[in-house]
């Protein structure tokens, strides 16, 4: 990646090493793992400690990731996620005029964890808790494409909901590759024939996908063709805001 800040890259490398260790690590171990001089690593660690990202064990002086930071790496409480996301979902609904979903993966389903109505005061039903198919929704595809480890493939062939649903293994794989490459997923009448959707990942502080953020609307209102839809820009911005809020509140 061009234009990266070296100090940040190094700090990230140090943090990754410390975070992925199963026990607190000494300075020498960390320096060896990131292949940098001990003095440099020591400077990085003191800074990380002063901002509260790493802690030092009292007796041994070994380093570990601070509790606050480790908390983010653990699975995020769905209620915390919802609380952090809601203001940004409201803003996204206001900006796009569309319904907004926040969706998490649960077993082999996509589950709606927060729902903001299409802001037109039309009668709508709260869909929080509703399970949706991973392969037939934009959110589900984002979650499938970014899942680590990959969810156990459903034994049976994916269910067909409309004539647009992708059910062939190869088709679906190609679609997920596209989602990984482009950073967003689309759904064009694949679950409900008259509904389309665009979704992007919401990343946690370690870059893992914590949820998918999606806008939904009638098929004729959303893009269906190739090319990056304009909606991706506000979606990515909102997802970034959610990530930052999670980061701050952790």
């Amino acid at each position: 990646m061009p234009g990266n800040v070296q100090a940040v890259e190094r700090a990230a490398a140090v943090l990754t090493v410390v975070a992925s260790a199963s026990r607190p690590l000494g300075l020498a171990d960390i320096a060896a793992a990131v292949d940098l001089p001990k003095t440099t690593v020591h400077g990085l660690l003191s800074t990380l400690r002063s901002v509260g990202w790493v802690e030092q064990d009292r007796p041994t002086g070994a380093y570990r990731v601070s509790r606050a930071l480790a908390g983010i790496a653990q699975s995020l409480d769905v209620a915390d996620l919802r609380s952090a996301a809601t203001p940004w979902m409201d803003a996204l609904a206001a900006e796009t005029g569309l319904e907004v979903h926040l969706v998490r993966i649960q077993g082999s389903a996509a589950v709606v964890v927060q729902h903001v109505y299409r802001p037109d005061n039309s009668p709508q039903r709260l869909r929080v808790g509703e399970e949706m198919p991973l392969h037939a929704t934009a959110s589900g595809k984002v979650l499938l494409a970014n899942a680590t480890p990959e969810p156990v493939a459903a034994a049976a062939r994916p269910e067909r909901f409309t004539r647009h649903t992708l059910v062939e293994g190869v088709e679906l794989e190609a679609e997920l590759d596209r989602v990984r490459r482009d950073g967003y997923a689309m759904e064009v009448g694949e679950y409900y024939p008259d509904v389309s959707s665009v979704a992007v990942p919401v990343r946690d502080s370690l870059g893992d996908t914590a949820a998918a953020l999606a806008v939904l609307g009638p098929r004729q209102e959303l893009p269906s063709g190739n090319g990056r839809p304009d909606l991706v820009t506000p979606l990515v911005r909102a997802a970034g805001s959610v990530s930052r809020t999670l980061w701050i509140s952790a």
């Binding site: 908390g71 409480d77 769905v78 209620a79 915390d80 919802r82 609380s83 809601t86 203001p87 409201d90 803003a91 609904a93 206001a94 900006e95 927060q114 729902h115 903001v116 109505y117 802001p119 037109d120 005061n121 709508q124 709260l126 929080v128 808790g129 509140s249």
Partner: protein, 502 residues
């Protein structure tokens, strides 16, 4: 890129001060926020530093502007919403505070209230101001300051001192005029609820020199132009935060109501152009007054402990790591397992008024686990709200059509569903839970002509979420009876008689 015309709102709250900018379609453009220190020099005392709060205003407004890529020239109007009843005195010549901000949570002035009640003024005060004498309101705090700050009373009589609630303090600093809005004035114990002016008899009862008081103005008019922070921008609205939330929820019709679920819960219902008398623990208050129009009143019921019970579970019990986590824990069980929590931490408010009550957790068996306790906590918030609604329905004839909600706890679906279930009422949350700031912006924009009328504002309200009641009648009545029985067990625990507020 052309910046649209913006309306700015300052929300000077109990915990923080924020600035929000809205465009002409009432969309939120940017927001900045700063917390200020909470001082508790003695038990029962609660103070803020007025200078710190003013400094925070001077920071958050430019931050919000920068975030929006805007300058003061892009701002058409400024509206202010504020923590109610918190007040201070300052020197008119130097602008320096002569006291800390004594907040609405502060009970130091109970001696003043006790004296006024002992002198037999309770009914006079209630009749004139629509609210009973209480440490909750500002007049007793001002009298306490006059009694304790050296020379203050003499200086007040010489006209050297200004008194004000937070909007007065901010407007003074922004525009150099000494005014208050009628919603804030209605929470002082000094304003006559009929003619909406300082009541001479009340000034005599509390011993307040009129010269120290700001001029009472309507909710939405131009008080002055900012010379600082937003140079040239007119300040066109001010209102107390709960009234601002009612306005932001566009509850302009009689019977429309909103409830803010935060630290405590505040339920206000629009009662129209005739003031109701405070009764059944409900307070009669001014909702808003628009220039040249009849004042609109509201009935207000509050629950002292809702979000703060969740906070207590987090900080004092370690039951959950975060406040939202209470929902996940509560959702781990199907019901309360027979466990009821009555958080009467400092007595019971509306509609029971029992200062001697203290909190209880009842119905414990070896079956009850953390999840049941968490359920009990959420249900406590819902049932306390139901008690307030029941009191309101005893005064307001028509049944509430629905309840509009806002505040931090509204992302808690289990709680909101429980509220819908126990109230047997549709609950609706609007886009942007920041209804206090929305209300201040709406009133300011209305007054500046950005929006032509209340109907236009009503049409800006957008439903973001709704919860329909799904509990059968039998279950609701059984749970109501159990809750009532739990509340009875909390009552009369302390053998004291203290002045309860409000």
């Amino acid at each position: 890129m052309t910046v649209p015309r913006l309306v700015a709102a300052i929300d000077q709250g109990t915990g923080s001060t924020r600035c929000l900018l809205f465009d002409e379609s009432a969309q939120l453009v940017s927001m900045a926020q700063r917390q200020h220190a909470q001082h508790h020099p003695r038990p029962g005392w609660s103070e803020h530093d007025a200078t710190e709060i003013w400094a925070n205003v001077r920071r958050v407004v430019p931050e919000a502007l920068a975030d929006a890529g805007a300058t003061p020239a892009d701002v058409v109007a400024l509206g202010i919403a504020n923590q109610r009843e918190s007040c201070l005195v300052w020197d008119r010549a130097t602008g320096q505070p002569l006291s800390p901000v004594i907040t609405w949570e502060d009970t130091r002035a109970s001696v003043v209230v006790d004296r006024i009640v002992a002198d037999g003024h309770h009914d006079d005060v209630l009749r004139a101001t629509g609210i009973p004498p209480s440490t909750y309101f500002a007049a007793s705090r001002l009298r306490w300051l006059l009694d304790t700050v050296p020379d203050l009373e003499e200086r007040c009589l010489r006209g050297e001192v200004a008194f004000g609630t937070m909007e007065s303090w901010l407007i003074w600093n922004l525009a150099g005029v000494h005014v208050t809005d009628v919603t804030n004035a209605s929470r002082t114990n000094l304003m006559n609820i009929e003619d909406l002016d300082w009541d001479p008899h009340m000034l005599a009862v509390f011993g307040i020199p009129e010269r120290v008081l700001p001029e009472i103005r309507t909710t939405a008019e131009t008080y002055g132009k900012c010379s600082d922070v937003l140079p040239g921008v007119p300040i066109t609205a001010a209102m107390g935060d709960q009234q601002a939330a009612l306005f932001g929820q566009t509850c302009f019709e009689v019977g429309q109501s909103k409830c803010t679920f935060g630290t405590g819960a505040f339920l206000l219902v629009n009662t129209g152009v005739v003031p109701q008398r405070s009764q059944a623990g409900l307070l009669s208050t001014v909702a808003y007054v628009l220039p040249g129009e009849k004042p609109v009143f509201a009935l207000e019921g509050s629950v002292a402990v809702t979000g703060s019970l969740v906070q207590w579970c987090r900080d004092s019990l370690g039951l959950v790591a975060t406040a939202p986590g209470i929902e996940t824990l509560a959702a781990s069980v199907d019901d309360n397992g027979g466990c009821y929590v009555v958080p009467a931490f400092s007595g019971l408010y509306a509609p029971r008024w029992d200062p001697a009550a203290r909190g209880v957790i009842v119905g414990l068996t070896s079956f009850v686990n953390r999840g049941h306790l968490a359920r009990g906590v959420l249900e406590a918030a819902a049932w306390q709200t139901a008690d307030v609604v029941a009191a309101i329905q005893g005064v307001v004839d028509q049944p509430l059509p629905s309840l509009r909600v806002d505040g931090g706890m509204t992302t808690n679906h289990l709680l909101m569903q429980t509220v819908a279930d126990v109230l047997d009422l549709r609950i609706e949350r609007p886009l942007y839970s920041e209804t206090v700031s929305v209300g201040a912006a709406y009133a300011a924009g209305l007054s500046a002509g950005v929006w032509p009328d209340l109907d236009t504002l009503s049409r800006l309200w957008r439903r973001a979420c709704s919860w329909e009641p799904a509990m059968d009648h039998e279950t609701r009545e059984r749970e109501r009876a159990r809750w009532a029985s739990a509340v009875e067990r909390a009552q009369g625990w302390m053998d004291i008689s203290d002045t309860v507020r409000p």
